[in-house]
């Protein structure tokens, strides 16, 4: 028994895990790399333009946030004086929501038709639709513009939103999802006496809730962030979105006297916040939607 007391029981060493610390250091550095630019934008929205011009971004939070915000929302830039922050915010909302809704509704309809019906020309429709995944809008931007012009869609919300919907990302996504829904559900529903409309409303749509939410987030962000197409299609300043108006915001920084840092950065901040907030709040849906779209 005495032997037992002799055996050295290793004291629980508080070994510092250097590798663990390194992991955190890398992650913190990465986070700062992404975050600091935003903090600088934030800081400059709280100070006066003179201060920013003289000293650049500082570590103090100024008191000018309210004034800058008021300036950004109400004061117009440009010639017509109609693109206030407020009007641009509304246009961005319309583009983001309209694009997301349009894309989801049209995509779900088409995907439902392709997956759940025996249709003779389904294969042809499939190829017609999915070829659109091959060419981004950017490579056919000029002819698209000409066509929108011919159809009288310049400076309209229709012209802003509908051409952007002309790719099948959402359709593809919903098709993948519908195909993963167990076959027996539609069979059980058919035996239970549900027709195609009833099956969609009672069973498929409720089952797709998470997917719809994920799609909505991705599409809202995508629509909100559109730049090239709005730049071409909207020339009236009252049709500008925040992201489209960014060029004018940069021109405010070129002013002859004191650049309007406060107002410009505030507008940039307003352009950033809604999509970022959506992505952060609905993070798990968003990540699921994004990463499952490639399968």
């Amino acid at each position: 028994m005495t032997n037992l007391s002799n055996t050295t029981i290793a004291a629980p060493t508080r070994r510092i895990r250097w590798s663990r610390l390194l992991d955190h250091a890398v992650l913190i550095a990465g986070s700062l790399f992404l975050l600091i630019p935003l903090l600088i934008v934030l800081q400059t929205t709280t100070t006066t333009d003179v201060e920013t011009m003289k000293n650049g971004p500082q570590l103090v939070i100024g008191s000018q946030f309210d004034d800058n915000l008021k300036d950004a929302m109400v004061k117009a830039s440009g010639f017509s004086g109609e693109n206030t922050g407020m009007s641009m915010l509304i246009n961005s909302m319309i583009l983001g929501l309209g694009f997301a809704l349009g894309k989801i509704i049209i995509g779900m309809m088409a995907a439902y038709a392709l997956v759940y019906f025996r249709l003779r020309f389904a294969t042809l429709a499939f190829w017609l639709i999915f070829t659109t995944l091959l060419l981004p809008l950017e490579v056919r931007i000029l002819p698209s513009y000409e066509i929108a012009q011919k159809l009288g869609l310049l400076n309209t919300y229709t012209g802003l939103i509908v051409p952007l919907i002309a790719s099948a990302t959402a359709t593809f996504f919903f098709r993948q999802f519908f195909r993963s829904v167990p076959e027996e559900l539609v069979e059980a529903a058919r035996i239970d006496g549900a027709g195609p409309v009833k099956f969609f409303i009672d069973i498929l749509a409720p089952l797709s809730q998470t997917m719809i939410a994920a799609m909505f987030i991705i599409m809202f962000v995508y629509g909100w962030n559109q730049y090239l197409w709005p730049t071409m299609i909207t020339t009236d300043e009252d049709m500008y979105t925040l992201v489209r108006g960014i060029k004018q915001i940069t021109q405010d920084l070129e002013g002859t006297n004191i650049p309007e840092y406060g107002r410009a950065n505030m507008l940039a901040l307003i352009a950033i916040l809604p999509p970022v907030a959506v992505v952060i709040f609905f993070q798990s849906w968003f990540v699921k939607g994004l990463t499952e779209s490639d399968k």
Partner: protein
Amino acid sequence: MAQVSLNNIRKIYANGYEAVTPTSFDIADGEFVVLVGPSGCGKSTLLRMVAGLEDITEGVLSINDRQVNHVDPADRDIAMVFQNYALYPHMTVRKNIGYGLKNRKIPADMIESKVQEAAKMLNLTDYLDRKPSQLSGGQRQRVAMGRAVVRDPALFLFDEPLSNLDAKLRHQMRIEIKALQRRLGVTSIYVTHDQVEAMTMADRIIVLNEGRIEQIGTPAEIYHAPASTFVASFMGAPPMNLIDARLADGQIMINGNTALAPAQGTGAITLGIRPEDVEIHDDAPIHFHVDIVEELGAHRLLHGQLADQDFTIHVGKDVAATPGATRIAIKPDCCCLFDPETGKAL
């Protein structure tokens, strides 16, 4: 109630594959028929054609003397239990069971009372407000049953309903389903690949292989008088022993000149003997060499060689057995003879 009649039903898929060759049989009122066979034998296709989930390429299907080839599944007066249950995951048990009634425009209070009745029958009353994800496998199975029962259909269709359950639960549900079917007296077609399920549940078994019917018969007929070597080896565990033999001088001969049992005819045959139709005696006529003794508690399986061919014997727990040479006798009238070329019973 339903009389189901299949007349030369055939299924050819768009890619040209013939899943079911022209097949005919009738099912009587209240009968429990089991379609059994290995995977890919066409049993599920046949069931799905009866359900209306699969087009019938050729032939006539009638239920209650009404031809239903082109009738929508919802209008065939059938109910189906699926292998993975196919419960609607976003609906409560109550809504799952009542969905088919709701679609038939039955008043809400009537649906509720029917759902309650079905739930009581299946011990689901306490779970009516749960979602399928909150239920155990056996409970989900019962909900799927409830969905079928509540509709009071003319015909129940079961598509391997127990294959997702563990062995113990499967045994229990087997008895429950059979009891329920007896009580309700509803004609049923049950598809399975498990021969034990087929044997224990069926009034009549239909054995399928490669899209063809191998044999139709009661469990006893199928077991004791298999129509082919396929049925002989598919039904029963361990399967029937099949050994090469020949007929000569009114005897079944193996291994040159050992006579096994009397039989008429001449030439080579395949001989089928159930493992339990063999007795061990020290003074019995046939040599058998035991290689392995499989101890199963209630009985033992002796695996070994009979005339240099694999052979298994089933003996009771009170028969002592050790590896080595022993002597056996075949019980009278227990030999099945098959044509070695076609595999058909002689």
